[in-house]
Each structure stands twice: as C-alpha cells, then as structure tokens.
C-alpha cells in the first residue's frame, strides 16, 4: 500500500495542452465505501451459503456484478475528457488565484466530475457531452513569483460511489503573482530634473503638453478622453500628452532603505500602484532590469510583471 501510494503520489510526467484522459493516465481503486460494500457482500454470501438460499446467491452476485460494471462506468466517466487550456490573471501575493480550465467533453455525458489541486478544495461539476465546460479552481497565492498550484487531479466516484477513478495531470498551470504592496516613502532617482522627494505631485494634464490622440484603451483616465471627437462620432480616443522628461519619476531598487529583497519588491509594488493612481509618469529600475517611464494600464502591468519575475522568482511556494 505504501509503495502504491508513493507511486501514485509522485509527480506525473509533464504534459502540454490539450491533455486527454485515457487508459494510460486514469487510475481506479475502491473507495472506503467500496471496501464496506465488499464486507456487506461477504456477509451476504456467508448467509446465502449457510441457508443454501439461491435467491441470496442471486442478489449477492447481482450486486457484485453491478459493482464490477460500475468500475467501467467510473473509468468511462473520465476517459476521453480533454483539458484544452487554462487561463489565469495575475494576482498580488496573498490574494486568491483563479485558474480557468476549458474542458472538451466527448459523448457520453460526464456527471459529477471533481477537480482539485493538491491543496485546494474539490469542486464537482456535471459535464454534458459535446460541449466545452469552464472549470474555475481557486487557490491562495502566498508568495511573489510564478505560482504553480501543482498537478490537477480530475476524479469521479460516479455512479455508485464505491470506486474512484482519477487522473493527475502535470500541466503548465501557472499564475503570475505580483508582490504584496507594502506602503512606505517613495524611493525616486535623484536625477537633476527630478522633482525632489515630494515627487508625488500630481501631474495635471497640462493643455500645453497635448501631443495627439490615440485609440482608447481600458484604464485610461476619464479626464484624458477626447470627448470632442467622441461627440463628433469618430469613436473613443484618449488625448496624449508629452510630459516633460524632467517630470518623470524613476522608482529605484537601490534607494530603498530596507535590505530584504522581497520587502523592497513589495515597497516598489506599492509605489507603482500609487504612481499609477496619481497619473504620474514613472519608470522602474531594478538590478539588471529597467522599465522606461510611461503611464497607463499596460505600463503598470509591465512594471508589476518585472517585479514578479525579478531575480530567481520562486516557483512553488
């Protein structure tokens, strides 16, 4: 039993999407109810033997046969399922990461299929035949970096609950985890044109800096939207301004008081979010990595990604 568990517990070979469940990766074993069921059958068999009761034999063998047939149903309930893809949005450390799997189901219907990561609660879902299903698994991402929740276990006890079949798929399931934001004083580059330690001065959208229009992207500040062109029916555009070079701030790794690298990253993360909220033109400089000053939603994520991936970003927590 121990050997079996070790064999089953070891990491399955890595797979890529789409991964289909078949006889090579589906295992099946009785559940504890299965063992109880066998005990009940054994008692029935003894009774039938003692009373020489053929009806008792018939019932015992019928139930035994049904248990046997149910193994095939349990395996068939998984066989042929295909995990097509997974998607996850980056989260901050300590938040719950959601993994959205798309499953393709061939006939027949797959009732009561369970999905779980090693450390997440199981979710159970019925998968109708011939349709794609969306499975969302959630797990808390505790540390910054690339979070991999471990192999996905797809299992089922359908139909009788006395056998469980399962497959553990070692799929490239990853979620980028940004550092947990940590408030603190701003750490800016001390370039000559820097606006000093009080660099958090809001960058008002000076009309004299207006440069042109670009198509609207979600996240652009409302006050930058060109309502004039919109009212003319030309679509939604965002006004672009050229901030003076000297107005850009650079968030610096080296200028943080703390020594702990993770704490530094958390501080920088907070600064990025703060700068983004205040519409400051900002850049980020880490050892070996530099993000040039810019602003907007995409820029924020670029900076956060740089923070998340910084150094030998820890894989699993």
């Amino acid at each position: 039993m121990k050997i079996l568990r070790r064999k089953l517990g070891k990491m399955p070979p890595p797979l890529s999407f789409p991964a289909t469940l078949n006889r090579r990766n589906i295992y099946v074993l009785p559940t504890r109810y299965g063992l109880l069921f066998v005990t009940v059958l054994a008692a029935m068999l003894l009774g039938a033997l003692n009373y020489n009761n053929n009806l008792g034999f018939l019932l015992t063998f019928l139930l035994g046969g049904m248990a046997f047939v149910s193994i095939l149903y349990t395996v068939r309930n998984l066989s042929g399922l295909t995990v097509g893809s997974v998607r996850s949005r980056p989260v901050f450390a300590g938040e719950t990461a959601s993994f959205k799997f798309v499953l393709q189901t061939t006939a027949p219907d797959r009732p009561a299929v369970r999905f779980a990561f090693p450390e997440s609660p199981e979710i159970q879902q019925d998968l109708p035949a011939g349709m794609d299903a969306l499975i969302i698994l959630k797990e808390i991402a505790r540390t910054r970096g690339v979070f991999s929740p471990g192999p996905l276990t797809i299992s089922t006890r359908y139909p009788l609950g006395i056998f469980r079949s399962w497959a553990r798929l070692n799929l490239p399931t990853e979620c980028l985890v940004y550092p947990k934001p940590l408030p603190g004083p701003l750490a800016l580059s001390d370039g000559p044109s820097a606006s000093g330690e009080s660099g958090s001065r809001p960058m008002g959208p000076g009309a004299e800096d207006f440069q042109g229009l670009r198509p609207y992207a979600p996240g652009d500040p409302l006050q930058h939207i060109s309502w004039k062109t919109y009212s003319q029916g030309q679509g939604l555009f965002t006004k672009r301004f050229t901030a003076q070079r000297g107005a850009a701030v650079r968030l610096e790794w080296d200028r943080l008081g703390t020594k702990d690298p993770e704490e530094r990253l958390s501080r920088l993360c907070h600064m990025v979010l703060d700068a983004h909220r205040r519409h400051i033109l900002y850049g980020l400089r880490l050892p070996g990595v530099e993000v040039l000053p810019d602003w907007g939603e995409a820029h924020k994520h670029e900076c956060l990604r740089a923070l998340a991936r910084f150094g030998n970003a820890p894989g699993r927590q």
Binding site: P18, G65, P159
Partner: protein
Amino acid sequence: MRPDAGQVPALIGALTVAILPHVLRLPLWIVGWCAGLWGYGALAARYGWRRPGRGLRTGLTLAGIFGVMVSFGHTLGGEAFGGLLAVMAGLKPLEMTTHRDRMVTAFMAYFIVITALFAYENLAMTLYMGLSVLATTAVLIRLNHPGGTLRSHLRLSGVIMAQALPLTIILFLLFPRIQGSLWGVPRDSQATSGFSDTLSPGRISRMVQSDEIAFHARFQEEVPLRRQLYWRGIVFYDFNGRDWQWRLRAPVDMDDLSGTDPATYAIGLEPHQDRWLFALDLPAEAPDIARLFPDYTLMRRGKVRRKIHYRLTSLMTYNTGPVHLRDREAALALPEGGNPRSRALARRWAEEAEGPQEIVDAALRMIREEQFVYTLSPPPLGEDVIDGFLFDTRRGYCEHYASSFAFLMRAAGVPARVVGGYQGGTRNRYGNYIIVRQSDAHAWVEVWLEGEGWVRTDPTAAVAPNRIEQGVAAALSPGEAPDFLSGGRFRDAVPLWQAIGDGWDAVNIQWDMWFAGYAFEQQRSLLQKIGIDLRSWKGSVGALLAAMALIALVALGFGLRLFRKPSAAEDPVREIYDRFCRKLARVGLSRLSHQGPTAYAEAIGARRPDLEASIRDITERYVRLRYGAGEVDETVLERFRQQVRRFQPDRRSEPRNQ
C-alpha cells in the same frame, strides 16, 4: 433547500421498498416505529426541522433494542435479526447528515433485501428483489450525483443491472455450493400445520383448514390419475387406544420390492419443521438427501427448515414381498383392554372368513353400507374411541376411519399399519404439475397380505369415494368445507382468474425447479455435462479456472467497449470539425457550451479578424456537410479534411489588459 433534502426522502423510499416484504412478519410496533421515524425524517428534511440530538438518538436505540429483545426473546434467530435490522433502519434517517451516513444507509437497504429473501424464496420475491435493487441502486447513484434527475438515476440503475446479468449468471452457476450449512439455520417460531409424530382424532381435520402449500410435484411424463396420488409421509405402528404414535424403528433388511409403472417426478417441499419427506406410493429408492426406511418412508437427517427439492422414482404398481417378523408383530399389537365391541366384531369376521382378504372386504363393506358419515366436525367420543366411532357416532374424518379400520384388522389378526400423508392435489392445466396443500392431508391403512405384501386400503374411499376422486370439497356436505375449498375464494369464482392463477402457479413451479432447486447436485451434474467432475480436485480446479476464464472474457468485452474511440468512425464530419475546434482552443479560442458552430465562428471572427475568412469558410462547409441534404461524398469530405489540416492559427498575444 439543504443539499441533502432530496436525498433523505429518496433513501427513505429505498428503505421502505426494502422493508415492505417484512411487514407481515414483523411485530406491529416495529412497523409503526419505522413508519413514524421515517415520516418524521422525510418531513424534517423537507421543512428543515431539527433532528433529534445524540442523547435522544441513543435513548431511542436502546429502547429499540430492548423492544426487540422483549418481542423475540433473547435468542437471535433470523426473525429477531430482521427485527433488529428494521429497528436500526428506522433510526437511520435521523442521523443522515453526512455522505457517509447516507452511503451506509443505502448498504443497509441492500442488507434488508437479503433478509427478506431468506424468509420468502419464491418467484414473486425474486421479481420484488429486482425492484428493490433497482430502487436502492438508483438512490445510491443519486447520492453520488446530486445534480441529476431521479428518472435518469433509475434508468442508469436498470442499465447497470442488465449489464451485470451475464456475470451474475456465470457466478450463480459456477460458485461452489456446499451440502448442509455452515453454522446451522436458526429455528424460527413459524407455526406449522403439518404432520406431527402423533396421529390423534381431529389432527387431520385441523390441517384441512389450511390453504398453505405443502409441496408441489412436477412429473416427467403424465400425471397419474387422481386416485393413485397417495403421498406417503409417516407410517404409524404403535396404538395406545386413542392415538397412533410414530417411533424411530431400527432399520432391518429391506423387503424384496418388485413393481412396475414407474413414475419419475421432482418435489419442492415447503419447510414443515420435521424430518419427513413425502413421496408417491411407493418410492423405489432414496434421493441423495434422505434415507429410505423399511416402511418406505423417507427421512432426512435434519429437519426441513427451508424449502428443499428432490427427485424420485415411484412404482405405481408394487409388491413389497414378505414381511419381517418384528414388523409383523408390531403390526398386530393392540393395547390390553378396551373397545370390546370392536374386538368381538373382528373376532367374528376372523372366524367366518376364508382368508385375510375377506376380512378386509367385510370391514370395507361395513363402512360402505352402514350409516357412516364423512364430516370435519365429528361429535366427541367416549373412553373407547373405536367402539364409540364404529357403533355409536359413526361420524368422523379420515383419521377416524383409518384408526378404526386398522384396529379392526389387528383384532382380526391381519397385520395393519396407519399411513399419514396427503391424497390428491390440484392439477395445473399448463403442465405436469400437482400442487398439494395442507387441506389435502389424509390418513389411510396398509394391510399385509400373503403373496401381495403391504396393500394400501383406504376406508375413506368406502365412505366418501368423492374424497379420493375429486377432493375434499366434493366429499364434505355443503357449508362444511372451508371457504377456500368450496369456491369461496375469489380465484376460483372467476374462470379467467382461475386460468391466470394456474398460469402463475405453473411459472412459479418452473422457477422453483430451475432456480430455487439449483443446488450442489444440480451444479455437479451441470458441470459434468461440460466435462468437469467436481468430485476430484482436478475437477474443482478446472471449474475454478473455467469460471475465471469466463469472467475474464466478460471483463475483456467490457474493457474493449470502454476504450473504443468515441463515435469517431460513425461521424467523420464531426470528428474533423472537432479537430478544427481543438486547434482554435489551443490558441485560446475555445468554443463555449452554449455556442453553436455559426455563433462560435462569429465570436472568434470578431476577436481575430485575421482568421475570420478561413473560419467562416470551414464553418460554412461543416454546416453544409452536417445539416445539408443527401449523402456525404467522400471527395467533399476529403477536401474538408484538407482544409482543416491547412488551418493553422497562430497564438497571438492576448490584449494587455486581460
């Protein structure tokens, strides 16, 4: 609603179905107990009432166990066990809060089903067992698939049962049976209305009141005439002036039996809690399960506590040959005094007659010609029962006639003995079956005549020939026979119903012979037919291997079905389209469950303008192939396949803001 709200009533339903056959056997309070607790459990689940706490549950459990002990005494027989199981099942719905509780309850329902099978082994119960397994399995499926409909669960339950049938049959036929039992069958307190080892006046007339089946017999060829159907059970030698006593007699060398007209038949004997087996006059040899005694009765080693089956060959015309001296003495013995008038009459016959046959005839003539009445309710007899019956009351049932006749014979010096058993039976119109009921109980006499051996002589035939020719109802005066015999039964009143009843009996007997009667002997002869001899160890191993090979074959068949590629060969168009969808899914453009092909094409076309043209092309072709009229042309199909093969969408990075 709680998630288990729909499961608890379903479980209670399965338990109800399982326990229903027990209702007549269980004490009334247990029936009420289950009904009350289950009713409460179902309503509590429906309306979210509080369930009783642990203390109350423990109290109820103890009260239930106490009740079972009071009702059944402290011996744990089959009935008491069934009662205990029912009491526990009654409590179960009060504590079904976890999946584990519910699973255990479903298993409990299966177990209740099997206890019903031990109590009633007949065709109706077999069919009911099927129903009960169907219901319980459907509930078990429901427990593991809370989202589905009860209807789909019932259907799947039926399908699984049907698929398990081949394996069931193989196991049923090949699983080794034993002779005897493992730890003995506990005695149940069933009232028996069969024969006992004492034949006293009134005993048989009491048995006539019972409609219960004693046994059924299936003849290999024609059923003999009704007047030949004397089913022999017990032979009584010892008379104490009032009762005839059976006593185990040391076996002696068997008489030289000779005879003709063999009849071969199989009997299914209902349990009667005694050791006798019944056989048509006169069994030529013993079946495997019993011994044949010198008085041509069959006895088992143990009492018949469950239905048993045996095959016999009887000789309808026979001569038992000379009588052993010891038997002859016992067949002439009479108590010291009493019944002077009968003795005097017998002595006179002995003096006047030429031989024993004339004595027999004289006695039969007396019963036939004088005012004797065949009745179920004879007047009470005085001290000398034989004298009182023969000369005063002259009213009695077959035991009175047999007893008096045997007394007269012995007093006249003719060896005589009383035989208890059944006479006649109900012929079934659909086959060579006879059903013998307790109401067919009968007693007659055998006298020993030089050169002829023991000869059956039935004084009842002299007073009431109809009893032998047509049965009890025809022989008794109107109003005297029990309702079920005099046509008062619903079944006998309507001809169609009568036919259905006969048909049901015939099916039941057939079932009983083939199914319930399948035991060690039948298994051995079945295996012998396919060349396996169970008596040697090689044969046993062979049987085991054959069973395993068969099971492996069935399993292999299932396995091949299981891993067959799903419907790929049947629908190539669909398969190609699926491949197309998989390619898109790989670049993050999966088809959602609610999207039809066209909607899907539009949705991804909007997101990926670069792919729009080819996607629309493929989708249109797919829709035409799949939903268009006419056969799918192989070249068109090939073009479609090529098109999908060439379709290679690239993964474009997702929009940043995702």
